[in-house]
Amino acid sequence: MEQKYRWLLVRRNLRAKRRTWLKNMLLMLVACVLILVTGGLAYSIDLFMTDYLLGAPWLRDLRVDAFIEDKDRVLEALNGLAEENSHIKDIFEQNPGATCEVADAEKYGKMGFDMSDPWYGYIVPESDGYLDDRYLSGGRWIERGERNVGLLPEYFTMNLTGDMQDWNTRLTYVDGEKLIGERISLRYYTYRIMGDELVKDREFTYEFDVIGTYHNLKAGQDSGTVIFPDDDIREMTENVERNTEGITKDLGVHYHVMVDAVENMESVKQQLLEIARDISNARVTPVGGPGSLEILSDLLKSVGIVIGIALFVIEGLILATTFYHQIHDRTKEIGVYKAVGYRNHHIISIVSGEIMAAGIITFALSVMISGGFMLCLSMILKWKATLLLTQIQFALSGSHLLLGLVLSATVMVLGSAGGLIQALRLEAKEALVVRRK
């Protein structure tokens, strides 16, 4: 039988039975879309995490806090641990940072930017180790001994809004690259306590040339953290300390222990906790962690697959009964096929063609719907979400496409097997008999 005519019969039969088929296809469509969408979401989040977040220093950062008088003991213990544990890449003391305010922020802002708020950002010394020249994205890194230069984030927001905490839909991003070569004047302050509140006391200015940008999204943050040479920071800090009574004096020491990879965080953390146990009031805090996103992606994957498969099973049963009845209703048609000389393989080829066509249409539709959904989602995120989340590349996952395809095919084959066997068993003389009363 030529394929052309096989598909003609398939098309016509599907059309004639479209009600029944549509009902079945709809359920399978829902099941398939569910598996594809949840699988795609989990896959995209996974990809985003391994590609973006897991490389970020803030996810590999464990902080050890202790009293200042234990500083030497802590440092010794940490260095000892670093020597025997190769997963520890770096240990450094947290430099006292400062908040700053950029004069004339509006000059660099884009249209629609709220000019009433000046730009607040963190300051990080170059030797901090948290960010290094691997994160350079434009311009150049600070050279040894250089003064009054700084690196800006590639993109940054005003007002220190953390992407992971807030869904601030009105963020405007400043393009750091455009500021390379500019001279920026920055204000920093000393504070004093009034009642419960910290208020600005004295103001100092600091001028710097923007010499480069660093890839702050890969570093996992979108705040306006600037990197300055150590000497400049020391000068600023001393300036603040000299002019402040008490409050910037920190009675604690803070060490960052940088681990080589996220998966080794837990074992290093356990070892640090052991050290901390021997030192009174020492604490170990994970600074960041994939936590909620990872759980979300696992949850999506399993819930999607469980519900999807359950729907498929239900669909298989429904298909089996409807198909069985359909074949029963079609005994005359199949009887005629047999009477005019159709062999079993012809009949299988027609009936399986109908199942295949319905399955392929359903699967194609569900790929289109799921793909469209992912597209809409990334469009909505591009429009509404913060910059970090817009870095998620939403795509359908290959393994879930395969799973959806295999499940659809299995349900189609199993669901129609009973009816098909019934069709093959049918004898024309029985099918075409007219029972007269």
Binding site: M1, R12, R15, K17, G335, K338, V340, G341, K429
Partner: protein, 221 residues
Amino acid sequence: MELQRITKKYGDIVVNKDISLNLEMGKFYVIRGHSGAGKTTLLNIMGLLDVPTQGKVLLDNQEVNKLPERDKADMRMKNIGFIFQEFYLNEALKAYENVMIPMIINPSLHKTDIKAKSCGILDELGLGQRVHHYPGELSGGEKQRVAIGRALANDPRYLLADEPTGNLDRKNEVKILEILKNIAEREKTVVVVTHSEGVLEYADHVYMMDEGSLMSYGTEI
């Protein structure tokens, strides 16, 4: 085609009793008999849809009743056309597509434009204006003509019709019988099983079936 001493039993019930019959080309046969006499059973045996309990069916001097089902299916496709009282058209297919059904599996029509061929057959049956209609849009007489078209699709030598006019009025019955007579005159063998008296004037041979036995009722009336 030749039937030699055909007997068909269901358990103890003998439905066809020792029937011998030689079907000649170009003749119009009519088998009559009351309900339950075994007419359809005999027709099914001739059409290789059923097997006799005893006896032989010979086609071109070859015993065909014992062939495996797939060979019989091939023989049906090439040699036999069926016409049923209830037409049994596929409601999902247009008239010409119904006629195409047997052609689709015919390997000797592989390169033929079977759409044109089936439209041609319908045209000859006076349905030139109806080829694109679905069965639901046709009258009973027209439906039966489409069914005749389907039976003629692979140009078989034998046309077996079980009560072909049972669901039609007299006017349409005449039309169908004229067509069948016409077909017989083109060197085909037509066998019609019927209760109807109206067929007799078209028949070359009339047989009477009574409790499974076939008797010649008279020829060339």
